[in-house]
Symmetry: C2
Subunit: 247 residues, 2 copies
């Protein structure tokens, strides 16, 4: 059901509370990603520490969303379509929490990397990946709030670009490592960071699929064009939508 098609109810107001919390959570995660990458580029240990500390607030928001969702379900006994929306909000919060964890991990590694020789161009490539995933995250949350399946589908398709960036980086780092064994440690950490950003992209995609399912009632039926070829690769593969057999 599209928002606005029915008269605002107590359920709608409760749902708006949850949506506002999700928007805040998304904002915090975007900032965490940006700051973690800046800490990596500028070797700023203090900023990295702030990102690590800030993850607690993101975790707390997920718990708050779960609590609000459980309260809403218990109090309002929502009908099937509304219940799906609430459960989707919980899934989206869980995906954002994982992205926050990845940002925290990135900040930790930036501290380790600061003690290792710099890899030319490494931080810049990471930043471009990070910028791309932040934009995707912003768009997919907009798509959820507006129940915009077209935007969600675009986000889903655009994940391809992030996968491509990751593939390029993987090959680049492998080459560096082979050329210079002293670069191995730093490249391993940079590579992990790239992989974690690629995984954030997968979580964003899974949010996009939740939105598409909520709006259209159907999952996108093509397999998402998955483009990590480093190893016939990764799999933070979103498992698509849910509740297909819900009455």
């Amino acid at each position: 059901m599209e928002k606005g098609q029915h008269i605002a109810t107590a359920f709608d107001r409760d749902l708006e509370t949850i949506e506002a919390l999700l928007a805040r959570m998304g904002g915090l995660v975007e900032v965490a990603i940006m700051d973690a990458i800046r800490a990596l580029e500028t070797r700023d240990a203090e900023l990295a520490a702030a990102v690590r500390q800030g993850d607690k607030a993101i975790d707390a928001l997920e718990q708050q969303i779960d609590a609000e969702a459980a309260r809403l379900i218990a109090l309002r006994a929502p009908a099937a379509a509304d219940l799906r929306t609430v459960l989707a909000a919980m899934k989206i919060a869980a995906a954002l929490e994982r992205c926050g964890d990845y940002a925290k991990n990135l900040a930790k590694r930036s501290t380790v990397l600061a003690a290792l020789p710099a890899i030319e161009g490494g931080a810049g490539s990471i930043r471009r990946m990070g910028d791309a995933v932040r934009l995707q995250m912003k768009n997919v949350l907009d798509a959820f709030i507006r129940r915009d399946a077209v935007l969600a589908e675009r986000v889903r398709q655009d994940d391809h670009d992030i996968d491509q960036m990751y593939n390029t980086l993987f090959r680049e780092f492998l080459t560096y490592m082979m050329e210079d064994p002293r670069a191995i440690s730093a490249c391993m950490h940079l590579h992990f960071i790239a992989k974690n950003i690629e995984r954030m992209g997968d979580h964003v995609t899974s949010i996009a699929e939740q939105v598409i399912y909520l709006v259209t009632g159907a999952l996108p039926d093509d397999e998402r064009p998955k483009a990590d070829h480093t190893s016939q690769p990764p799999d933070a593969q979103p498992q698509g939508g849910i509740w297909q057999s819900t009455p």
Copy 2:
């Protein structure tokens, strides 16, 4: 509320259906991990392909559990404590689904590794990590079914061992790579596999924390003794239980 404290209701029967699905899902994931690692050790491309194919059944079970849970909530309007149990079951299914994805990824990498020079002792160390995480997974699902907080706490503490195994492997692979650049590609993939098993351990821990919260009503308040020191590391860090402010 402990199972058995109240007379069996329609809710209980529905919940048992969900628990049976979870048990089946856990069994499939355990087998997927075991087979993926065997495929790695024996360079068995057919077995690896079967694991990749089998992940669809695991994903389908998660969708079925979500659907059953949504149906149960809509039909039975469970009270707060029962609602928490249902939502916990959904979270556990999501954690198992991730573990299944990691097993699928492992199988994919085993195919790539089959074309690369073997790393002495690599597959054996991976197998020991895999065995450890499978045992943990079995125990934590038992803990959920029996609402056994003591067992769940033991699982939570034992994750330390898997983290230690990962740390050892990380250093080992780094050494190999520095000694012999021809080993770099294979070590990168093996290292990814080790990391993914370590992440499965984190998901198992997050299930353990759900169980502890369900049974005792409180989250374990000590930070889990996290022992991946490769980089002040990883973070698939479970975010603890949920619904703390639920009425």
